[in-house]
């Protein structure tokens, strides 16, 4: 595996090992059931009617022809949903305005982007449903539209929401606009900092909207019983999120909905909201039959969350010796059709790897006639990091300094104050730079038309509410039930942590994902939180189980509980007089559970604090073909502080996958619109994600600076790896061709144009 990962062993039996994942066999044999794999007796097929226009008033919807088609059982429109007031959710993590979610799931008065759902039908077969969808007559008044973020901010731009007034500006605006919000952060005095600088780099950068690109389209099956109870089988990053959002959008009690999570075929943040589930329930209610809705790939591209394209301006100043004196960022992010771009998160993260006394970020959240953006892996951070890390590379060139040395000189450490306020606790950024410096990749020779780029990235990682239950079975085996969909092998991590605490063989521990009725609330799989927060719940549940096992052993021994210790999956007892009892195994205690008080289990629900921030540093080598502008990634190394790798293979996998997505973002992926605001490349053929022949092996180095907030030192790892690649690739190309790359993607025609303009082609 290239370089052996650096794992600090603390004498754990299972933590840090690489067992076969518990759900692996089902996934290599095709038996695992994903969102579209569910079938119910009497099930109808659904189809969604979508706006062909980027911006249009919906004057009327006539479903009579569709309903007259034999086999059609129901049609729903916004009329079938409560008209929700503007209400921001306060539970969970990122604030969600349920009115916006509702209007995104089904348009009420206006269609705000091409692909916006306006109605849904259910029929006896998919073919009839598709035919019926085409028969739903929607009378549109086409309105002027706006796609570009800067154009959307212009005073004369077509306005999407008549009730949207920019927040965070003074004086408060009196006119509606597409600018939803301005936020900002300030540290020190940037004017003073720039005055002290010997060298200043200032540049504008641009990135395009890119899609999460999960291979599994959104899919849901819903049933609705006569007693008002709805059941949803669906693919999502959180069954509890689906339950809450669907209840809110349909005006139902949370207890009237049960959500059964399927396996999930990738999410990357894109499955942290609902699109189909409320429609499926509404159709099931109206038709009295279970209804299945599955998106086509075109629908996924046109109607589900890409992340924002962004306009980013960075100014950065340093002393001759490389010490940074000031940094400024202005970020204008596309939110899509409803407010809520991750611009603020870009402002909080861009400078986070660096100790800069004077810094500021100004963040603008802007709506336009694009699908509403959804979270995508470290939302908002990659675009800001593209700007900052590119500017740093240019600064290093101006200073005649090694870009790695420049970063080392300014690296944030424990005690460094972040632009967004607090000081960092234990972090491992400098350690990733040190690992990069000694990695053979950093000093390998380069050939003609080749360049090497380096860039770093930061993500907060989050904790939050999670639940776990451990059931000890009669034969001494155990189940670990959690409430988080397993997207990348988290079942393996849950089992490993439980086995470590229980002290029993990993093969005896079976992890399971509970539905909303089987486990207490757990916040969704996102924010790099599952191995950290749900893992913490698992550890605490295992500790509670061990406490119970000790009590039961004491009962069997008829001694005081304080004399019992738990080691290696057995109860040990040394009495005050020094007498030792023969250790009692978990299996033996389990077998006698009936005599000592009944089944043995441990269940906990926590709100996990103590998430450890993560930092990564990536090195990328490219070769540029000056005749075509084609860029080939020759070598790639991703280095990250992961706290502690519970299952190193799946941690490496996170680094490799994040790097690949970032390489796609840098080199090829983009949303392309025509003059009518219609997406031109809504297919995997034309929206070009990296394929196997596009990439080299992706080497990984796992640096482990344990997070004191987790019993095994875990930090979230899933999001950091997509932050550095945009600039790592762009810096490599910049150095290969001698022209600074300031816009993504660096696709062949764009790069060729740039080379021709610079006289380098």
């Amino acid at each position: 595996m290239g370089n052996e990962p650096k794992i600090f062993s603390k004498g754990y039996k299972w933590v840090g090992t690489r067992p076969v994942r518990p759900d692996g066999v089902d996934k290599v044999t095709g038996h695992a059931a994903f969102g579209a794999d569910y079938q119910m007796p009497g099930m109808l097929a659904g189809a969604v009617v979508r706006s062909p226009h980027a911006h249009a008033r919906i004057k009327s919807i006539d479903a009579s022809a569709a309903l007259a088609l034999p086999g059609v059982r129901a049609v729903v429109t916004a009329e079938d949903f409560p008209d929700l007031p503007s209400e921001v959710s306060t539970g969970g993590e990122a604030p969600v305005n349920f009115r916006h979610v509702s209007l995104n799931v089904i348009a009420r008065d206006k269609a705000l982007y091409e692909g916006h759902a306006v109605a849904a039908v259910a029929a006896t077969t998919p073919a009839i449903a598709a035919e019926a969808a085409a028969l739903v007559k929607v009378d549109y008044e086409v309105l002027p539209h706006v796609i570009d973020v800067l154009e959307a901010m212009a005073p004369d731009a077509p306005v999407l929401h008549e009730d949207l007034y920019t927040s965070g500006v003074e004086p408060a605006p009196t006119k509606a606009s597409n600018v939803a919000a301005r936020t900002g952060f300030t540290l020190g005095d940037t004017a003073k900092g720039f005055a002290e600088a010997d060298v200043i780099v200032e540049r504008e950068f641009k990135t395009e909207a890119v899609h999460q690109g999960y291979i599994e389209p959104h899919a849901a099956v819903a049933s609705y019983a006569a007693d008002g109870m709805a059941t949803i089988w669906c693919t999502s990053q959180g069954q509890f999120m689906v339950r809450e959002f669907t209840a809110k959008l349909l005006g139902m009690d949370i207890s009237s909905i049960r959500v059964i999570p399927s396996e999930i075929g990738g999410g990357f943040g894109g499955k942290t909201t609902v699109y189909l589930e409320p429609l499926a329930v509404a159709l099931a209610k109206k038709s009295g039959r279970p209804v299945k809705l599955v998106m086509s790939r075109v629908e996924v591209f046109k109607a589900t969350g890409p992340t924002s394209g962004a306009w980013v301006k960075v100014k950065i100043g340093a002393k001759r010796d490389g010490k940074l004196t000031a940094g400024e960022m202005v970020l204008k992010y596309q939110a899509g059709a409803f407010p809520g771009s991750p611009a603020t998160l870009g402002g909080m993260t861009g400078f986070a790897p660096y100790d800069i006394e004077n810094a500021s970020a100004e963040c603008w959240d802007v709506v336009s006639n694009r699908p509403k953006c959804a979270a995508y892996r470290a939302p908002g951070a990659p675009m800001a990091a593209f700007g900052v890390e590119s500017a740093l590379d240019e600064l290093a060139q101006k200073l005649g300094m090694c870009p790695l040395e420049l970063r080392m000189k300014n690296a944030a450490k424990a005690g460094t104050r972040a632009l967004y306020g607090p000081k960092f606790l234990e972090i491992g950024y400098a350690e990733t730079l040190a690992a990069a410096k000694v990695h053979p990749h950093w000093s390998a020779p380069l050939g003609k038309n080749q360049g090497r780029g380096i860039a770093s990235g930061f993500w907060f990682n989050v904790g939050g509410p999670s639940s776990a239950a451990i059931h000890i079975n009669e034969d001494g085996t155990a189940e670990v039930v959690t409430g988080n969909p397993d997207i990348g092998g988290s079942r393996a991590s849950m089992a490993i942590m439980a086995a470590e605490v229980l002290g029993i063989d990993l093969a005896k521990v079976k992890p399971m994902i509970g539905d909303t009725g089987q486990i207490a609330y757990s916040f969704l799989t996102g924010g790099s939180r599952v191995t950290f927060a749900t893992g913490k719940a698992v550890v605490e549940a295992a500790e509670a189980t061990v406490a119970e096992l000790k009590k039961r052993a004491a009962k069997l021994w008829k001694i005081d509980g304080q004399h019992v210790e738990w080691r290696d999956g057995q109860a040990w007892c040394t009495l005050d007089d020094g007498t030792e009892r023969t250790p009692m195994s978990l299996a033996k205690i389990a077998a006698s559970a009936g005599k000592t008080g009944g089944p043995i289990s441990g269940a906990v629900s926590i709100n996990a604090a103590g998430a450890g921030p993560g930092f990564g540093t990536h090195i990328c080598d490219v070769e540029v073909d000056p005749e075509t502008g084609a860029v080939t990634v020759l070598r790639y190394t991703a280095i990250q502080d992961v706290g502690r790798a519970i299952h190193p293979s799946y941690v490496e996998g996170q680094l490799q996958g994040g790097a690949a997505q970032g390489i796609g973002w840098a080199l090829n992926e983009e949303y392309l619109y025509d003059a009518n605001g219609r997406l031109q490349n809504a297919s995997f053929l034309d929206y070009r994600m990296p394929v196997a022949s596009d990439l080299p092996m992706i080497d990984t180095v796992l640096v482990e600076v344990p997070n004191p907030g987790h019993p095994f030192g875990v930090r979230g790892v899933g999001e950091v790896p997509i932050v550095p690649p945009l600039a790592a690739v762009a810096n490599a190309v910049s150095r290969a061709v001698g022209v600074r790359i300031d816009a993504l993607p660096i696709s062949p025609p764009r790069l060729l144009k740039k080379l021709v303009e610079a006289g380098k082609a």
């Binding site: 993590e93 604030p95 900002g184 300030t186 939302p379 306020g421 907060f460």
Partner: protein, 82 residues
Amino acid sequence: MARVILQGELARRYTGGQATLVVQASDYSALVAELKRRYPGLVEAIGRRTAVAIDGEIFHDPLHEPIAADSEVHFMPLIGGG
């Protein structure tokens, strides 16, 4: 006394531009009560859509988290993730 550090806009609007507030409180709920008393509107403006960092550790839904005499408290946007 713990220090509460506000980002510019909140300070401009609610504390007469004072970005660092010195507050006597032994836990988070007491701190919030004291801020409510001293700066009308501030706590409401911070709202429930905010996380709080106490000495670098970020809490999303705090209540009685302890505050030490030399603690530093920041309000910050809620952080989600992908």
